[in-house]
Amino acid sequence: MSMNDDVDAVTAAPQPGALPQFVTPIVPKGTIAGRALVAIVAIMTFLASLTTGAVVLVQSAASDWQSEVAREVTIQVRPVSNRDLDADVARAADIARRFPGVADVRVYSKEESSRLLEPWLGTGLVIDELPVPRLAVVRIATGATPDFGQLGRALAQQVPSAAVDDHRGFVEHMRSMGRAAFLGGLAVLALVLAATVLSVTFATRGAIATNQTVVEVLHLIGAKNTFIAHHFQRRFLGLGLQGGIIGGGCALALFALIELASRHFLGSAAGEQFAALFGSFSIGYLGYAAVVVMIAVIAGVTALASRRTVNRTLETFE
């Protein structure tokens, strides 16, 4: 029995001698919904990566500030009547220099002390006329943990007007501020991730809704649920990775660009201010690794959302 005479005028492109092949993927490629999903995944990955980078940056800057401050202590020598302040400062600096674990001691000169007070007392200050204490900054050797209590006692014996300030209060304040900034960043990151998961999930559901016929036909011709879910999961993992690499890649490129720019402007005043705040403005290997993990996680979320949606769709058929 033949029905060739029923073939309509509309014919396919002639394929002389060619054998047909099953090359089309079961889940269609390049659909509008698929492209929209890639765009959403890319945008959300970009935002999540920026937030991750910002959290890493804040954490690293706070840690730098803390270690910078913690590596120094200050010796304050008060002016006392009947004592030579300069001699006391020199003696205190000498004691500190000989103390184990001290790398360097820098005594602030009278002029430098005047400049420190300029913001409050104005220029042209004659420091000798005021009972202003003199400062010596003690820099601690890398890895050393000097006993500041012992240093304080040694100074008290030989220079009674000297006192050691190990910045403990300030460091504690910095630490809690840094912790608060880091936790705040983590909270924002969690919100961004939640928004990412939700938007990617809904976009995936939308994309699968356009493939409802494919799911239904596969189901009715006897495809097992795992077969259908596997095909959709694989396709959507691909879409998720595509979007994730675009979004995450843009974020990584942006971080790398800013890092390069900050190095370039390091000598300038603005660059110095920037460096003072953010250090080298590098998210480091940890930050870059976190962005790569973000790409993988978001692609995984896309794949899992597709599997779940397909399974739910299949449940409605039974």
Partner: protein, 219 residues
Amino acid sequence: MVRFENVGLRYGLGPEVLRDLSFRIEPHSFQFLTGPSGAGKTSLMRLLFLALRPTRGLITLFGHDIATLGKDALATLRRRIGVVFQDFRLIDHMTTYENVALPLRVVGQEEASFRDEVVELLQWVGLGERMWALPPVLSGGEKQRAAIARAVIARPQLLLADEPTGNVDPNLGQRLLRLFVELNKSGTSIVIATHDIALMDQYDARRLVLHEGRLHVYE
């Protein structure tokens, strides 16, 4: 092959659309399922191709009580049933060849093992020149034949066709009926849901008539 015993079906909390259906479909049999619009033909077809579960009664398919089967076992049973949908349900992004080969693909067969068979079937139904065409550019008749080819490619034991002549002219309708008769002669049980009396008059076969949710069988 198929046994219904006191089967009832309702959607949600609505009234029963199918009531106390008891009948059998024997191997190598041919039957028309008919009745007025809204009588429940499509619902009964959906029960037959396991797209619905009954709200009461017993359905036995190929010796299995479907109520006791899991999802994978039901999928395996569906492979023994070919379905021709009224609206064809071809997958638009796949060529005619791929649509027809799909049931073999989902069971994991290698393309080399089924390519010749699919090509031969497509030529047999008159679509040899349309293997590379996508469904949106096929005519109604071509879609119908592609849907039939897809339904029979895996040599099902039971073929269910829902209004297979609803979208074609009477001449093509006759040809399709001849195709179903040929398939039946080769051992497939056929159920054709239709309200086309002219079609049923062309072939002397058992008639299952649905009326207000109840089934009357005319041997």
